[in-house]
């Protein structure tokens, strides 16, 4: 079956006063139907930018330089505002990082949840409310009938993230994108949200694209993993490929740094010596070369090509494949 979302060779710049930031370069990834794909990478590696591009919710200064975003066989980058609106919420929806700011403070949760269903023209207000109640119950909010009449500030952070998930799932999208949905929560809440996402994956017919800093969460939740570094995808494959057969020196560094921390589900990625490069100037060779323990002379001169390691397992490194 063809993937629900496929991003091919996507390159994107942010125009800034000092010059363009080359935030994404030739990014390709796929989200297969009914699976969970995780994107992992250090802060600034372009995770949020990729998913914003998938929904075309990009900042005003973003310029797409090339590539395509295909959702269900349709070209998202070529859509007009009307088509995008039909796509958002109904086919792809998003849960954001900070649950405390993602619902409008002056309207009740019930009102917001019925508003989202505005496209259900033949459904009465009472039925829309019932659907909202049911969705609230599914994400684990008790007394949903009463709580629908409350305003966002009357809920805790964990509950607000559950509500955000409920809102995102109201129109039964085929793809749910969650951008670090647990970063703002404490460890207990985080575990509950992850548990909820797993449960939902069983009951709702769709895929999840899950962005995280946290390798432990990725290992726990995902079927496939995409590792990003400095605006590029450096390695991707199944969870087993990535955790047992990591091929790219960056992925290996992430895993080797401190394997115990992965078990602990520590919120931060292990630290690798060196800094993420400045994306104003893209290096001539491999982007990871300045920090790579295995770099050779060639790495600084030629950009690394993508090598296929196994079925669906690819990495961008000179040491792999064609040697």
């Amino acid at each position: 079956m063809d993937p629900v979302l496929s991003i091919r060779d996507l390159s994107l710049d942010f125009e800034t006063p000092p010059g363009p930031v080359h935030a994404l370069r030739n990014v390709s990834l796929e989200v297969p139907r009914n699976h969970i794909v995780g994107i992992v990478g250090e802060s600034g590696s372009g995770k949020s930018t990729v998913i914003a591009a998938a929904m075309r919710l990009l900042a005003n200064n973003a310029v797409i330089r090339g590539g395509e975003v295909i959702f269900n066989g349709r070209d998202v980058l070529g859509m007009n505002q009307e088509e995008l609106r039909a796509l958002r919420g109904e086919e792809i929806s998003m849960v954001f990082q900070d649950p405390m700011t993602s619902q409008i403070p002056v309207l009740t949760i019930g009102r917001q949840m019925t508003d989202i269903q505005y496209r259900r023209r033949n459904v009465s207000m009472a039925e829309k409310r019932n659907l909202a109640v049911e969705m609230m119950r599914r994400v684990g909010i008790s007394d949903p009938e009463e709580r629908l009449d409350q305003h966002p500030h009357q809920f805790s952070g964990g509950m607000r993230q559950r509500i955000a998930i409920a809102m995102a799932l109201l129109m039964n999208p085929q793809l749910l994108i969650a951008d670090e949905p647990t970063t703002a929560l404490d460890v207990t809440m985080e575990a509950q949200i992850i548990h909820l996402l797993r449960e939902l994956k069983e009951s709702f017919e769709g895929s999840i694209l899950f962005v995280s800093h946290n390798l432990g969460l990725i290992a726990e939740l995902c079927d496939y993993v995409v590792v990003m570094y400095a605006g590029e995808v450096v390695e991707q494959g199944s969870v087993e490929d990535l955790f047992y057969r990591a091929s790219h020196p960056y992925t290996q560094a992430l895993l080797e740094c401190d394997p115990a921390r992965i078990e602990d589900a520590t919120p931060a990625l292990p630290t690798i010596p060196g800094d993420v490069p400045d994306l104003h100037i893209v290096p001539q060779g491999c982007v990871f070369a300045p920090r790579c323990p295995r770099a050779v002379a060639r790495c600084r001169e030629e950009p690394a090509q993508i090598a296929t390691i196994g079925a669906g397992h690819r990495a961008r490194c000179h040491l792999l494949g064609h040697e």
């Binding site: 929904m55 919710l57 505002q81 995008l84 609106r85 039909a86 796509l87 958002r88 919420g89 109904e90 929806s93 998003m94 954001f96 900070d98 700011t101 993602s102 619902q103 409008i104 403070p105 002056v106 309207l107 508003d115 989202i116 505005y118 496209r119 305003h151 500030h153 009357q154 955000a164 809102m167 995102a168 109201l170 129109m171």
Partner: protein, 314 residues
């Protein structure tokens, strides 16, 4: 909310009481004898004595203070020095004219200001936005008496399309409405500027909030996102501004009332200051202060009813 309303009401009463005390002290403790102020320097000692007794000024100061409060509570603000008419009566004759003027001025300026501000924010940096930016700053900069004089000159004197003087025939609503047009235009113009600037700024801030991005991610219609969501939050500071603005204009309508020779509170205070009719001045200042406090209170209550976060923090 009931609790808050009561507390807010209590606060308003305290503020008005303090204002009354200051007013009382200003009249009685500030250098200058109120009798001389009222009667002028050439009054005979007999006239002074009679006036003193009639106004209760021969009583000790703390008694006068208590009497002043007690009378005010009974709705007695004293008598006009010359006509002996009750001050409350005089004020209640003038107040409706000012109230109508202020309502008309704030009404049209709020409506236009909100529309302009909202539209400028939505079409940020467009020609329309830049153009309204210049116009609204201009509207703020021009003093309202200048607008009063010019609009009088253009529409009433040169074009002769609108009546200029007075408040219109009593009982004739159409005539009264026509007499409101020029003064409410002159008085409201600056407020269009203030309101448009404020709405634009808060709209831009709100449009950058995360919940607007989430609203878009649900595929909501742009008009829902802007008018049902963003504007509902962005309007809150404007409600507060309007409360203060209405209170302010109740006494600030003075210039428009003088230029257009309209009856009203501002005109009343002005006339009574000139004739040193201090009980009327005192009463009118008191009433406008109380109305100012009332407007600010209503604005706060409206704000609380619109913003659940404010309600929760009460």
């Amino acid at each position: 909310m009931l609790n808050y309303t009561l507390r807010r009401l209590g606060l308003s009463i305290v503020i008005v009481s303090v204002a009354m005390s200051i007013l009382f002290l200003m009249i009685h403790l500030v250098p200058g004898d109120p009798v001389t102020i009222a009667l002028g320097p050439r009054a005979t000692p007999e006239m002074r004595e009679a006036y003193r007794a009639r106004m209760g000024l021969d009583q000790p100061i703390h008694i006068q203070y208590v009497v002043f409060f007690a009378n005010a509570l009974r709705g007695d603000l004293g008598q006009d020095v010359f006509s002996q008419r009750a001050v409350t009566r005089i004020i209640s004759e003038q107040l409706p004219h000012t109230a109508a003027l202020v309502a008309a001025a704030i009404g049209w300026s709020a409506l236009l200001g909100i529309v302009l501000g909202c539209f400028s924010a939505v079409h940020r940096n467009s020609f329309f936005d830049k153009f309204t930016g210049v116009i609204t700053v201009g509207a703020i900069a021009v003093p309202s008496f200048v607008v009063s004089l010019y609009s009088l000159l253009i529409f009433a004197v040169m074009l002769k399309v609108l009546p200029a003087i007075g408040a219109g025939e009593p009982g004739d609503l159409v005539d009264q409405a026509q007499h409101l047009i020029l003064p409410s235009f002159a008085l409201g113009l600056g407020w269009v500027g203030y309101i448009a600037r404020l709405v634009r700024a808060s709209m831009l801030e709100v449009m950058g909030e995360n919940y607007i991005r989430s609203a878009r991610s649900y595929g909501l219609l742009e008009r829902t996102v802007i008018y049902s969501y963003a504007l509902k939050v962005a309007i809150l500071p404007t409600v507060t501004l309007l409360g203060v603005g209405i209170g302010n204009l109740l006494s600030g309508a003075l210039f428009a009332e003088i230029v257009f020779a309209r009856p009203g509170i501002g005109k009343l205070i002005y006339d009574m200051v000139i004739t040193r009719n201090y009980p009327v001045v005192q009463g009118a200042v008191l009433v406008t202060t109380a109305l100012f406090v009332l407007c600010a209170m209503i604005a706060d209550l409206v704000n609380a009813s619109l913003d659940p976060r404010v309600r929760a923090s009460l």
